[in-house]
Amino acid sequence: MLTNLTGCNEVYELPDGGGEPKLKEKVFKVRKVIRKKIIINPLSAVLFNPPPIEEIKLQLQELTKHIYEVGQGEGKNAGFEGGTKRGTVRFIRLRYSGGDWEQDLNRNSDLNMLLWYAANTGHKTAKKPEVRSISQLKQFSSGKSPPLVYMTGQENIRLSKKETEILQEYVLDKHGMIFADNGGSSGWHSQFFSLMQKILPKVKPQPVPLDHPIHNGVPFLPVVAPHGGKVAWGWVVDGRVAVYYHPGDIGDAWADGHAGVPRHVWESGYRLGGNVMLYANSEYSRWLTAIKQSN
């Protein structure tokens, strides 16, 4: 309630820790351990059943155990160097006028994604996803603002000049990232691109390569239902992807029931979402660390 009032300052902090900014598969090394037994003299006067000469036991050593800490920096446990003890990873959806910004929200799309992220990274996360209007983004001060906001819909995007400026400030000055997901129309695609033309006039959108760190091992883009092409687009500012545009309703894949798409598709959807979240958090943490060092 309080946070929805204008004028209140909000704080977003990442959880502290460290790790590598990539989601990894666990790697095990299988080692056969052969235990040697003492051979007892069969001619001994004492009678008992001799045990088998050798006993093979499989020892599973998790190779990735010491590095399976997802995050950024050199802190202990999974987390971020630029984070704090009280910090948590939150999932924030943007509310804007003109369209159905709340698409799939009632089918727990954001919650499912946040839960998947928590389970696969070990980061401290918020209990519930959140919704903020664009003007509420202004309440976050620089260095304490969300690294990523999620924006979806399929109708219209109507932003005032002030809201456009807030988004511009959020992306450029507060080092934030927008994760846009086309919820179902080619109209939304063109509206979002023209919005970006206002927010980042000096940046040209480019197709994001499949082997970009933001995808990090995802073999293909889980385009659930392409509405605005089949290629993910990125707006790169100072070497980081500041805006990531997914063309095909990834929120549908995250939602309960997964819109009936095959398992491998919605699993990839979570993985891509997790990668984007992790990338945004890592970049933000790196930025915070750089500021600290320069001070």
Binding site: P205, V208, P209, V236, G239
Partner: protein, 288 residues
Amino acid sequence: MAYSNKTIKLNIILLASFLSIIQLSAASLSWTEQIEVNTFGKLRQVERYQLKAAEKFYTKGEFAAAAAEYEKYITLYETSKGAAYAQLMWSHCQINQRKVYTGIRDGFQSVIDYWPNSNEAKLAIYLIGKSYKNIGELKKAESAYSKTIINYPNDHIALLCKWDLADISSIKKDQKRLNQIWIDIVFNTENNKKNLSYITKSAKNLSKYYFNQSEFKKAKNVLTTIYEGDELNDAIYQNAKDAVSNLCKNKATKINGEKLADKIILIIMESIDDAKIKIYLNYSEELQ
């Protein structure tokens, strides 16, 4: 005798069709994807066959299969003269599969590391810049282009890099840097057949900028590097007309616009000889 004539004709037709197929195949590849004729001439038959097999997949758009074939070439004929080209093409295959970072890191960079003196190394360093530019990593692109310019200052590829650097500056809306690059292209680049179109475009862009700033002398100076005589006057008119209308639209700059228009009229009048003026005046009188 008749038989031998027929066979000669048939051979000529076959040869012509074979050559046309080769040309078609080469035409479908861009200049950064083609092997040098000298290098191709030095390859053994088996090596050529392997390259052709890979190229067949590449031109069909089957880049994964093409990459496998180029990789096979590198494994089998690592010391061959065509190995650098095969590595370059492998990188192109990665880029076409949208694996840009792999293409740069494991492909183009390998060409530079393993065959630093080859023509492909020159292309690779340029293509690193181009690939970074295409994915929006402008800083890295600028760095790669600068390296190319330093390593090959007098080559046509340096001009291409400068051209792309100008494009990056225009994306960044950095007019000062853009002007510097245009000046460099116009005044410091060798004017030959390959470079001419880029120099002309840069000269036009730079003169347009100067006309918009009401700097007539500078603009004319730029156009003089390309044009002379009547062509120069025409170029002044063509590149200044938009500037005149832009300047005249705004009240604050209207005087500058009118001054610029006067200068252009004066130049055009000076260039037309008296006989032509008389013809023109007679013609306009007749019309009235």
